[in-house]
């Protein structure tokens, strides 16, 4: 059954209007990044750039050392956290998905609860702990809590993935004399790759965007990550520096954009199968 042509036309009109509204902030920030500074702060403002320049891109990429530093910090912190999450959630998810042991259900209930509790509850003790240990303002300062906070998510996805693998495969491997570790690394893990991809893209997006831990634990400008660093740049420059600022915003969204567009379906799967995130 297909709807009437006019109904469909109206739906397309509304959908296009909605799409425009959602895309407009991106378009505006891209336009701003391409206008010469004089045009950015002309009044009345121009909607479309009258002349196009790449000077702000050159400035941010080659002369703004703070920005490069923040980008590098974000890359290291996200990369190392992702690696640890990938390994420990594919190990832990295997245990939760395919083994029976005492305390398993309690553990699952606990990680579900964790997903619903706001981050700030953990932040105060973690701040006190890291102050005492002297690890604030370091890569470790964020990697450790990021791994812990995103693990419940990863464990949950990997548990479901491993549980879905048919037990005939496991039985056949055991008859062939696989050790437990071989069974996990050679048979199970390759079959769990889609789950692992989901875990990695979801945690990538969460960690690259994280703000509240980063702003609290990295007080020294040297260690800031992009979401905090860009706000810091804005506050340092005091007033309107939106010509360069919009470039910085665009460049820091670029990795997220590429990953999201390339792996959108995995992300969707993770959101729908995941649960609730605090």
């Amino acid at each position: 059954m297909i709807r009437k042509k006019t109904t469909l036309l109206i739906l397309y009109l509304i959908a296009t209007l909605i799409a425009l509204v959602f895309l407009a902030p991106f378009v505006w920030i891209i336009f701003t990044s391409l206008k010469p500074s004089k045009e950015v702060f002309s009044y009345p403002i121009t909607l479309f750039p009258h002349s196009v320049t790449l000077e702000h891109y050159k400035y941010v990429m080659f002369r703004m050392s703070d920005f490069r530093r923040y980008f590098w910090n974000s890359t290291v912190i996200t990369g190392v956290s992702l690696a640890i999450i990938a390994i420990s959630s594919s190990l832990g998810g295997y245990a939760l998905g395919r083994k029976n042991f005492w305390g398993k259900n309690w553990f699952i209930v606990f990680i579900l609860l964790v997903l619903a509790i706001p981050y700030s509850v953990y932040l105060i003790p973690i701040f006190i702990m890291e102050t005492r240990l002297g690890i604030k303002n370091s890569y470790l300062a964020l990697i450790l809590p990021y791994v812990a906070l995103n693990l419940p998510w990863g464990l949950f996805i990997m548990m479901g993935t491993f549980r879905g693998i048919p037990s005939e495969i496991e039985d056949a491997a055991r008859i062939d004399g696989c050790s437990e570790y071989q069974l996990w690394s050679r048979i199970m893990l390759p079959l769990a790759k889609p789950g692992l991809a989901t875990t990695i893209i979801i945690t990538f997006i969460f960690i690259w965007q994280e703000f509240i831990y980063a702003v609290t634990l990295q007080t020294d400008a040297k260690w800031k990550t992009l979401p905090v660093g860009i706000v810091h740049i804005r506050d340092e420059l005091q007033s309107l520096a939106y010509d360069n600022l919009s470039v910085a915003v665009i460049l820091s969204l670029l990795p997220l954009f590429i990953v999201f567009v390339a792996l959108k379906d995995f992300f969707i799967k993770g959101i729908v199968e995941g649960g609730v995130k605090g």
């Binding site: 190990l91 509850v121 999201f260 609730v276």
Partner: protein
């Protein structure tokens, strides 16, 4: 019997070994902080001056209600949450219904609505401060060219009446796509037969959506509702970046107030109490949501 018991014992041993790395992280950075900050709610602890927390019993839980700033941030959080929750649920449902109907180019429309998900809330704040700038902002420019003269001079983020609603709009922009993902998954998991049967009976667009589809995607409705409750109550980045909680305390939220109490004034006991009250609100509303939306059959 014995052999199966030893093998299951061996099995749990292996399971513990596999779970150990994740378990360690969760105990040190989640379970312990959860307990410790609960303990802190019964203490007074000035992190700069005190060497250790002082036990004060229920004092924090009692005195917090006399704190005017707390009361105003509680009110702001609830107003924000209500506005945000109602709009985000309705809007994303509507958008999902519309996108589902499109015969061509669905991917483009989906991507347009999903794209803001990748923007960190803090950067969404930075972008919108620029868009809403009273002089150089594009929003007022558009209002001017559409002829809304009186509105076009407004400073949206520093006006008492518009600051909080503006923050709702920024948060909506970021998260609507999130819920659309869930609703679309629900709608598209339905068998075609239900909808076709309804259409043969000649139901209208809205009857089909709200009377036929909606009752059949309760699980997805419940999931989106839980996500939205969390998003509606843990409001931090947007006020931090756009208004700083102002003007006055007009956009100060519980989350931001708890953070400031802890890391601006270093009153850890009080800050932990506010954080726990915020958590309690989320859990309370999630519980309500479950009660109303959970599938009753089984």
């Amino acid at each position: 019997m014995i052999s199966s018991r030893t093998s299951s014992l061996r099995d749990s041993g292996i399971a513990y070994l596999f779970l150990a790395p994740a378990f360690l992280f969760i105990v040190v950075f989640i379970a312990y902080p959860l307990v410790y900050s609960f303990y802190l709610t019964f203490t007074e602890y000035d992190f700069v001056y005190d060497s250790a927390p002082k036990w004060v019993g229920l004092k924090q839980y009692i005195s917090i209600w006399e704190d005017k700033v707390f009361m105003s941030s509680l009110k702001n959080t609830l107003v924000f949450a209500l506005l945000y929750y109602v709009i985000v649920m309705f809007f994303s449902l509507l958008i999902a219904f519309i996108i589902d109907e499109l015969t061509k180019g669905q991917t483009f429309y989906q991507l347009a609505v999903y794209l803001p998900i990748i923007v960190p809330l803090s950067l969404a704040g930075v972008i919108f401060v620029w868009i809403l700038d009273p002089t150089f902002g594009v929003f007022n420019h558009i209002l001017r060219s559409l002829g809304f003269k009186s509105l076009s001079n407004k400073n949206w983020l520093s006006d008492y009446s518009t600051a909080l609603p503006s923050m709702v709009v920024i948060t909506l922009w970021k998260y609507v796509g999130f819920n659309v993902i869930i609703f679309l998954a629900g709608i598209q998991s339905l068998g075609k037969s239900i909808i076709e049967a309804a259409r043969v009976d000649g139901v209208s667009f809205f009857q089909e959506k709200f009377l036929v589809i909606l009752p059949n995607i309760k699980a997805h409705l419940s999931m989106a509702s839980l996500y939205s409750i969390v998003q509606a109550i843990k409001v931090f980045e947007v006020p931090y970046v756009t208004t700083g909680g102002g003007p006055g305390t007009a956009t100060l939220t519980l989350y931001l107030y708890s953070w400031r109490t802890a890391f601006g004034y270093f009153k850890m006991g009080k800050a932990a109490t506010i954080a726990y009250i915020t958590a309690a609100l989320i859990i309370f509303f999630s519980f309500l949501s479950n009660k109303f939306l959970e599938e009753k059959e089984k």
